[in-house]
C-alpha cells in the first residue's frame, strides 16, 4: 500500500521535473482561452483573459528564441485596437449617443459610393470600437502565448500521422535554415572577392542563384540519405483501405461545406448547421486517422501526455466552456450595453481564472534551471 503511494507520489513528482510541456497541450489551452474571448465583448473578461495569458507566459516561458516573440504579439494586439478605433473615427459615420468631439463630415465624391469621412465622435461609438478591437486583440494574444510557450520543433514532431510527409518537410525546413544563413555568408564572401556589379538587383541575383543551387543540391543529398535509410519504404494501403480513406475525406469535406452554408444562411433549416458540421468534422477526422494508418514509424523519446499536460488542457476546456455558457445564459454580461459600466459575474471570474492554473502545474522549462545550475 505504502509502496504504491510512494510510487504514485514519485510519478507525480517526476512529471513536474523541468521539461518542455507537450506543445499540443499549450495550443489546446490557448485555443480554449481564445474561444472564451471570441464569445464576449466584455472588457473586464477580455482584460482578465489577457492578464491570465500573460501571467502564464511570464511564469512558464523558456529562454529560447521563440519565447521572446510574445512581446510582438502584445504590440500587434495594441495595433489592432488602435486601428479599430481609428477606423471607427474615420469611417464611423454617425453613431447615436453622447457626442465627445464634433468633427466635420467630409463627403467623398460619388464614385466612392457616397462614403462620408469623419463626423461626430460619440462615446458609444468609441467604446464599441474598443470592445470589438479588444476581443480580436485578446484572441491574437492567446495564440501568441501558445506560440511563445510551445516548442515549435516538438510541435512539428507531433503532427498527425496522416500529415507525416508534410511534417517531415517542415522539419527539414526548420533544420535547413541555419545552413542557408551559412550558405549566404559564404556566397557573399566569394562575391566580394570578385569584380562585377554590386548593384542591388544584380547583387541579389548574384547571391540568390548560388544560394538556391546550393540549397537544392543539399536537398538531393539529404534525399539520398533518407532513401539509403529506408525512408518511405512502407507497404502501401490496399485498394479497400484507400477507398475508405477517400470516402471519409470526401464525406467530411462535403459535411463541412454544407455545415458552413447552414451556419451562414440563418434561414436554412437548423439541422444543416451544427449537426452536419459536427458530422463532417467526425468524418474528416476518421479519414485522417485511416490515412495515417499507412504510416508506420517509431519515435525517439516521444512526448507523452502526463498529468500536467492533462491539467493544462483541462483548464483551457473549462475556460472555453464557461465563456460559451456565459454567452448563452448571461447575455447582458457577455455583451455589455455600451451606455453603462460593464459588470462581471462570479462564474465568469472564477472560470477565467482557472486559465491561470498552468502557471502553477506546468513543469518549469528546462533551460532556465540549467542556467541557474551553471
Amino acid at each position: 500500500m505504502s509502496a504504491t503511494t510512494s510510487g504514485l507520489r514519485s510519478r507525480v513528482e517526476v512529471a513536474r521535473l523541468p521539461r518542455d510541456l507537450h506543445p499540443l497541450a499549450w495550443y489546446a489551452w490557448a485555443i480554449g482561452l481564445a474561444a472564451a474571448a471570441s464569445s464576449t465583448t466584455n472588457p473586464l473578461v477580455l482584460g482578465l483573459l489577457l492578464a491570465v495569458a500573460s501571467l502564464v507566459v511570464v511564469a512558464r516561458r523558456s529562454d529560447q528564441p521563440w519565447a521572446a516573440s510574445f512581446r510582438l504579439y502584445l504590440w500587434l494586439a495594441l495595433l489592432v485596437v488602435v486601428l479599430r478605433v481609428v477606423f471607427r473615427i474615420v469611417f464611423g459615420g454617425t453613431y447615436p449617443g453622447t457626442v465627445l468631439l464634433d468633427l466635420p463630415e467630409v463627403p467623398l465624391p460619388d464614385w466612392v459610393l457616397g462614403v462620408t469621412l469623419l463626423g461626430a465622435v460619440t462615446r458609444e461609438g468609441l467604446l464599441g470600437g474598443v470592445y470589438d478591437g479588444l476581443r480580436l486583440a485578446t484572441i491574437i494574444v492567446c495564440i501568441g502565448a501558445a506560440n511563445a510557450l510551445a516548442n515549435p520543433k516538438r510541435l512539428l514532431r507531433s503532427v498527425p500521422p496522416a500529415l507525416h510527409e508534410v511534417g517531415t518537410a517542415l522539419v527539414v525546413a526548420v533544420t535547413v535554415l541555419p545552413q542557408l544563413a551559412d550558405s549566404v555568408r559564404r556566397v557573399r564572401a566569394a562575391q566580394q572577392l570578385r569584380a562585377g556589379e554590386q548593384r542591388r538587383v544584380r547583387g541579389l541575383r548574384r547571391v540568390l542563384v548560388p544560394v538556391l543551387e546550393d540549397a537544392l543540391e543539399r536537398s538531393l543529398a539529404l534525399a539520398a540519405g533518407m532513401d539509403a535509410r529506408g525512408y518511405g519504404r512502407a507497404p502501401g494501403q490496399t485498394r479497400r483501405e484507400r477507398w475508405t480513406t477517400g470516402a471519409f475525406l470526401l464525406l467530411g469535406l462535403g459535411g463541412i461545406c454544407v455545415g458552413v452554408y447552414g451556419v451562414l444562411d440563418r434561414t436554412a433549416p437548423r439541422v444543416l448547421a451544427a449537426p452536419v458540421l459536427v458530422l463532417g468534422l467526425v468524418a474528416a477526422v476518421a479519414g485522417l486517422t485511416t490515412a495515417g494508418r499507412r504510416v508506420r514509424r517509431s519515435r525517439y523519446r516521444p512526448d507523452r501526455w502526463r498529468w500536467p499536460e492533462l491539467a493544462v488542457l483541462g483548464s483551457g476546456v473549462v475556460v472555453a466552456a464557461v465563456g460559451v455558457w456565459a454567452s448563452r445564459e448571461q447575455l447582458t454580461i457577455a455583451y455589455p450595453d455600451l451606455t453603462g459600466v460593464p459588470e462581471i459575474s462570479l462564474a465568469l471570474l472564477v472560470g477565467v481564472l482557472v486559465g491561470a492554473v498552468p502557471a502553477l502545474v506546468a513543469p518549469e522549462p528546462v533551460s532556465r534551471t540549467r542556467a541557474v545550475a551553471a
Binding site: 459615420g93 518537410a169 517542415l170 434561414t267
Partner: protein
C-alpha cells in the same frame, strides 16, 4: 515531369481539392454570403478559424496519400526554408513580400500539387519562425496554396520570354487577389459589423444584398490597401519575376529534372538521365 508534376494529383485528389476550395472560399467570403433574418445579433464566426485548418489538413493528407518521394519531400522542405528566409528578409517593409515570386516560380516548375503543398508549408514554416502564428494563418495558408496551385495550372506550352511575361502578369494579378482575399477575411473584424441604428460607412451590413456588401468591400479594400500594400506587392512580384525569374527558373528546372526522375529500368539503350544525387 511537366505533365504530372512532382506531387501527383489524381482524379480523386482533384475532387477533394475542389470541395475543399469551395469550403475555404465560403469561409473566406462569409460576409458576402451571410443571410441573417431581421434583428439577430451577428458576430463574426470565429468558428471558421478553427475549421479551416481541418480542411487544409484533409487536402494535404489526400495529396500526400500515396507517400511522397524522398527527393520531392526534401525539395519541399528546402524550398520552404528559402521562402521563410525571403519572408523574414522582406517582412519589415510593408507589403514587400518576396514569398510570392518564389511560390509562383516553384508552382510553375513543379506543378499544381506541389505548388499547393508548398504554399501551405512555406507560410507555416515562416510563421513558426517569425512569430506569424495567429488567427490569420489558416487563411494565409489557404490563399497562398491556391496561388501556388494556380501557377502550376498555367498553360505549359508557353516558354521563353512569353513565359516570363505570363508569370509576371500572373504575379501581379495574384498579388492583388491575395490582398483582396486577406482583406475580405479581416474586414468584418477590423471594421466591425453594422448594427441597426448605426449609420456608418464601409462596415459590413449583415443580410444586405450581395452586391451592396461587395461594393462596400471593394471601396474598403481600394481605400485601405489596394493603393498602398497591394500595389507595392504587385510591383515587387513583377520586378522580381522579370529580373530574377529566368535564372531561378533554370535552377529550379534543373533540380526538378533530377528530383522527379522515376527509374523504370528496361534496357541499356533506353536508360534515362542518370540520377547523380
Amino acid at each position: 515531369m511537366s505533365t504530372t508534376g512532382a506531387v501527383r494529383v489524381s482524379r480523386r485528389s482533384a475532387l477533394v481539392l475542389a470541395v475543399a476550395s469551395l469550403a475555404g472560399l465560403m469561409m473566406l467570403c462569409w460576409p458576402l454570403l451571410l443571410q441573417a433574418p431581421g434583428e439577430a445579433r451577428v458576430d463574426p464566426p470565429f468558428l471558421f478559424v478553427a475549421l479551416l485548418p481541418v480542411v487544409v489538413a484533409v487536402v494535404l493528407a489526400e495529396l500526400t496519400e500515396g507517400g511522397l518521394d524522398a527527393r520531392v519531400l526534401a525539395m519541399l522542405g528546402v524550398l520552404s526554408a528559402v521562402q521563410a528566409v525571403l519572408r523574414a528578409v522582406s517582412a519589415g517593409t510593408a507589403g514587400v513580400e518576396l514569398v510570392f515570386f518564389m511560390l509562383v516560380l516553384a508552382g510553375r516548375v513543379f506543378g499544381p500539387g506541389f505548388g499547393f503543398v508548398l504554399g501551405c508549408t512555406s507560410l507555416f514554416a515562416s510563421a513558426l519562425m517569425t512569430a506569424g502564428v495567429g488567427p490569420w494563418l489558416p487563411f494565409q495558408m489557404m490563399c497562398s496554396a491556391w496561388l501556388g496551385m494556380g501557377a502550376g495550372l498555367l498553360p505549359r506550352r508557353v516558354r521563353g520570354r512569353w513565359e516570363i511575361a505570363m508569370l509576371a502578369a500572373y504575379g501581379v494579378v495574384a498579388a492583388y487577389l491575395f490582398g483582396a482575399l486577406m482583406n475580405l477575411s479581416s474586414w468584418p473584424f477590423l471594421l466591425g459589423v453594422q448594427v441597426p441604428g448605426h449609420e456608418g460607412s464601409l462596415a459590413f451590413v449583415p443580410g444586405a444584398p450581395l452586391l451592396d456588401n461587395l461594393s462596400t468591400f471593394l471601396v474598403y479594400t481600394l481605400v485601405t490597401s489596394t493603393g498602398s500594400f497591394d500595389t507595392v506587392r504587385a510591383v515587387t512580384n513583377l520586378v522580381a519575376i522579370v529580373l530574377l525569374g529566368p535564372a531561378v527558373l533554370t535552377t529550379l528546372r534543373r533540380a526538378a529534372r533530377r528530383a522527379t526522375v522515376v527509374g523504370t529500368v528496361r534496357s541499356a539503350d533506353d536508360a534515362q538521365e542518370p540520377v547523380r544525387a
